[in-house]
């Protein structure tokens, strides 16, 4: 391993752990305002959506809102399967199957 690689991994580890730990570290001295506490429940759905939608609508960084887009079809199938079944494993499996079926058949 080169010195540059050591520096990169040390730096990446430090910032990643720092971000994850910072609020936990000072938790005892931290009082969140009521409106902030209110906003916490929106965080998980907002982040998950913000990551997922572009990955599906713009796979490979190009707009593709058509039935020819296997990522879009997989997402829609897993969405329907998930809402209907409320089962995580089934949601993922249905999406993966739809994706590979689309690639084979389209």
């Amino acid at each position: 391993m080169s010195g540059e690689e050591w520096m990169m991994i040390a730096g990446m580890s430090a910032v990643t752990f720092g971000i994850r730990y910072f609020l936990f570290a000072v938790a005892d001295r931290l009082q969140l305002a009521p409106w902030l506490l209110d906003s916490l429940k929106f965080i998980p759905p907002a982040v998950l959506t913000a990551i997922t939608v572009p990955a599906v609508v713009l796979p490979n960084g190009e707009w593709n809102l058509s039935p020819a887009n296997p990522y879009l079809i997989a997402a829609l199938v897993s969405l329907v399967a998930g809402v209907a079944s409320r089962n995580l494993l089934l949601t993922i499996t249905a999406g993966l199957l739809a994706f590979f079926a689309h690639r084979l058949l389209w």
Binding site: T16, F24, D28, W35, S39, P45, A74, I92, T93
Partner: protein, 247 residues
Amino acid sequence: MNIESADPRARQRQELFAGVRDTAPLLLGAFPFGLIYGALAASSGLSATAAMLMAICVFAGSSQFIAIGLVAAHTPVAIIVFTTLIVNLRHMLYSATLLPYLRHLPQKWRIPLAFWLTDETFAVTIHRFQRDDDSPYKHWYQLGSSLAMYLNWQFWCLLGLLLGTRIPDAQAWGLDVAMPVTFIGMLIPFVKSKPVAVCVLTAGAASLLTWQLPYKLGILVATFAGITAGLLAQRISNRLINQSDCR
């Protein structure tokens, strides 16, 4: 109360295994990424030791991928570290959400749980914390989820590195579809009210307007747009409820 639930060790173990069990479906979603990571690292010029050490010490899928891409493009170390910082900022939102549930724990718990905090473990664990029972061992559930994600990720990264260049064109297989379908599965249980639905629709629309921002900043901007819209929607719906109460 039965005898088993009176024994703290048995209850801790129960929580731990429940965390592993509820995370199991997400392990499926992580495996193609580990494999692709290993295969890509082999062709990026990063040494196999460094690629594995990165998985062990950084343990953050998206920034590991981005780092490999930047290494292949001969990007200076400082830029790679800075990009990691920006891409991982969302984890601070996660720790803020978990804060009320973990603040009573000693640092020897907070440190490892922070190190192992991922999108997946967060999304699974927050439901456990929010469930309406007074179990004092819910952090054991998060530990179970964390360990499952960590060991699973290391295993697939190692396998990807060992197979390395022998996986031809791993990226072209489209295995990256595992991420969106996994995230959709994680997203659905959160959408239980109209304000959350408004939040999701806004975050989705905003993500399509901001995806071109550098360092994946669009994720953060879209997240804040979604949170703001959700708060506004909640305020409006509360006001409507109050009005109908007064009538």
